[in-house]
Amino acid sequence: MSVSSKEFCTSETAWCPGCGNFSILKCLKQSLEELGKDPHEVLLVAGIGQAAKTPQYLSANSFCGLHGRALPVAIAAKIANQNLTVIVNSGEGDSYGEGGNHFIHNIRRNVDITHFVHDNQIYALTKGQASPTSAEGHVTGVQTEGSMNTPLNPILMAIAAGAGFVARAFSGEPEQLVSIMKQAILYKGYSLVDILQPCISFNKINTFSYYQKRIYKLKSDYNPYDKVEAIKKALEFGNQIPMGVIYQAEKRTFHEKNSVLSSGVPLLDQHQDVSLIEKYIREFV
C-alpha cells in the first residue's frame, strides 16, 4: 500500500453484500479525495458496531474505541492537534443510545469535528434489537410486542441543543451524500449528518425501497439559516423525509473560544517554559 499518494485506499470489509455502509464508505473516500486531504492528515474515530468498523476499511489514522465513546475521543484529539481533520463514523445506537450524553454535550462544546451517523434504525452488530431511532411497533427478538418507546428525532434534538450544522442524507443517494459530507467536513464546528442506511440483514422494515419511497431533496431555495423552518423540516419523518442541510448557523468553535487554542498553534506543539514551573514553585514559598 502506498501511503504517500493522496489516495485513500479501502480494504476488504466484513459487511454483508448489499449493506448501506458500502456506499457511505465509498462516499467518504470520494469526499476526502475531492477535498484534497492526505490520509495522514485525517483521523477517523469510531465506537463499536457495524458502522463503527468504517475506519478499519479506509487508509488514514484511525481510532476504534468503545461503544458510545467515539465523541469524547474525537474532540480531545482535535483539541490536542487541530491540524487533524477529525471525522466520527458510528451507528445511531453508538451515537444516540450508549453515547447520548456525549452527543448532547459535545454539541454544546462545538469542537470542529464531523459526525456521520450511519442510522439503520436497528442494532446490527448485536443482531437486531431496537435502536433509539427504531419506529414504534418495530418487532424484534427483544421487542417481541414491538418497540414501545418513542423514537428519537436526532435532527430535532441536535438543532434544539444548539448544533450549527445538521443534515440528513441517504446512503442510496451517493451524489447528494458526497456533497453533504464535504460541506460537513468544511463546516467550522461540530457537524452532524444523520445518514439513513439500510441494514439488509436485521431491519426488514426500513429497507432501501422504504427510504427511496419517502425521501425528497430540499429545494434549492430552502434557507438552512432559518431555525424555525429548520425545526419544521426536522419534524418531518414519516411518509416524507427531507434530505439535505436542514440547519446551519455560524457559531464560535471551541478552539476560537479557548485561550490556549485560539492562537492556532496546535496544543501538541506549544512548548512549555521551564521558568514557569520555577515560578509556580515560588508561589508556595
Binding site: M1, V3, S4, S11, A14, D38, P39, H40, E41, L43, V45, I48, K53, P55, Q56, S59, A60, N61, S62, F63, C64, G65, L66, R69, L71, P72, V73, A74, I75, A76, A77, I79, A80, N81, N83, L84, N101, H102, I104, H105, N258, S259, V260, L261, L267, L268, Q270, Q272, V274, L276, I277, E278, Y280, I281, R282, F284, V285
Partner: protein, 555 residues
Amino acid sequence: MYNILIGGAAGQGVDTTCAILEKLLKQSGYHVFSTKDLMSRVRGGHNFTLIRFGAEEVASHSYILDGIVAFNQETVELHRSKLNSNGFILCDPSLSVEANNVVKIGMNDIAKKLGNPKVAGSISIGAILKLFGETLDHIRNVFAKVVKPEYLDINLKAVEIGYDSVEQQYPHKDGVYGDWMLLTGNQALSLGAITAGLKFYSAYPMSPSTSIMEYLAGKMTEAGIVVEQAEDEIAAINMAIGASFVGARAMTGTSGGGFCLMVEALGLSGMAEIPLVVADIQRPGPVTGLPTRTEQSDLNFVISASHGEFPRMVIALKNHADAFYQTIRAFNMAEKYQIPVIILSDQYLADSSATVEPFDINKIKRYCASEEQYDGEYLRYRFTTNGISPRLLPGTTKGFASADSDEHDERGWITESAEIRVQMMDKRLLKLKKLELELQEPEFIGNDSCETLFLGWGSTYGPIKEAVTILNRQSSKRFGALVFGDVYPLPVKYLTEKIKKAKRIINVEQNATGQFAQLIREKTGIVCTSSILKYDGRQISGEQIAEQVLKEAGK
C-alpha cells in the same frame, strides 16, 4: 512541637483563618502540617483543622492538643478531652467554658465594632501569635495574598487587637528555614503534572479530587494546558485517551465512584496501548460513602479494575513531596510502557498542607519516547523484544496510526486469528517484565534489626513514621516499617529481606479488610501477624498506632 485545633461551623471562616495562620507560622520558621476534618455540607455542622508546627520536621497530624480555638460551643465539647493538662481554649465570652486555661476575647463584639463580623478569625490569629511568642512581622505580606485590598487594613487591625489581648504562654522555638513550600497534596500532584508536561486534563467534579482541576484551571492559559470539565467520568477518561493518542500528555482525576465509571476505558488504554495517567483520590466507599473524609479502600479495585488482562501500574502517594515527584514518574512510566498508570492518593493527603523543601526541578528526568518517522508502512503494534512498539503520532508524519479496542494485528486491524491473539496478549504483558525492573522498593523506617515490622502504603507514611519513632523511644523492643509507594506491580525485594528478622509483622491500613496485607500474601505468601485498621473516615495518627501496639503488648 505544638498542636492546635481550630473549629467551628461551616461558613464561620475556619478555613480562611487556618490558611492564613499556617502561612504566618511558616514565615516564623516553623515546619507546619495541617489537616482538615470537614463535613459534607456548605453551612453549619462541625468542621475543624488541626495545625501542628514546630522547629523539627512534621509529617503527620496529632490528636493531642496544646490549644483549641473554638468558634462555637460544639468545638469545645467535642475536643476538650484531647487537650493537654495545660492546654488553652481560646473563644468568645459568649461560649460557656469552664476550664483551667480559658482565654476569652470578645471577638464577636470587637469584630462588629470594627465593622465586619468576619474578622473575628483574624483576632484569633493575633491572639495565637502572641500566645506562642511570635511577632507580627509578616502579617501584612501574608494577608495581602489572601484578602482583598479593601479588607486588608481592617484585618490587620483585628490581628493587632487580638495580639494585644493576651499574654504569651509558650516559648518561640527557632526554626531552621524560611523558604520552604507550604502546599496541599493535590497542589503538589498538580504541580507535578504540569512539570511532567501535562497538556490536557479532563475530569468531572468529585471530592476530594476537584481541587486538582481547580489548580490546573487557574494555570490553564499561562501554562498552555486545556482543562475540560467533562459531562461525566466516562467522557473524562475517553477524552484523556483521545488527547494522548494524538500525542499530548494527558491525565484525568477522580475519586472511587468516578473511577468506577472509567473502568472500561482503563482497559482501552491497556488494549490500545495509549499512555494514560489516572489519579484516584480515595474517599470512603462504597458508592457515595463519606464524601469529605479519608480511606484507603480502592486498592483492590484499581489493581484489578476492567475486564480481561493487561499491564498497568499503580503508585500510591506517601506525602507531599512524593505527590510531586511520583506524578512526574507516572507520566514517564505511562509514556515509556504505553500503559495506564494509576496514582492513588486520598483525602488526607489531598487536603492536608505541609511544609516541604522546594521541589528540585533539576532532579527531574522527563522520559520522552522518540517519535518515529515513517514514510513506509507503519505498524502501530509491531512485535518487539520488549513488547513496546514505536509510537507514531497521527498527523506528524506521512505514516498513519491506528488504535483499536478490538484485538488487532500489528497494523492495528481487527483480527480473530487465534495465533495473533496469543502473540498480542504476550506482547502486551511482556512490557511488565521490563517495568518490574524499574520498580521502587518501599522506604524503610526505624531500627534495622527490628522485631516488629509495620507494613503500610500511601498516606499512612507520616503516621507510621511517627509511630516508629514513638515506639523506639518508649519501648525496649525494636520497631521498623516498610511503607510502599509502588503497590502494583509489587516490589518484593526489601520485603523478603526485612521479613527474615522480624518476629511480628503488622499491617497498618485505612480500610476494614486489610487489602494490602492480602496483596502481600497473594504475591509473596507472607502473612501479617496482626493488623491495625481504621475505617471511620478519619486518618490514624502516629500516637494512635503506637498506643494500639503498646496496649496489645501489655495484654
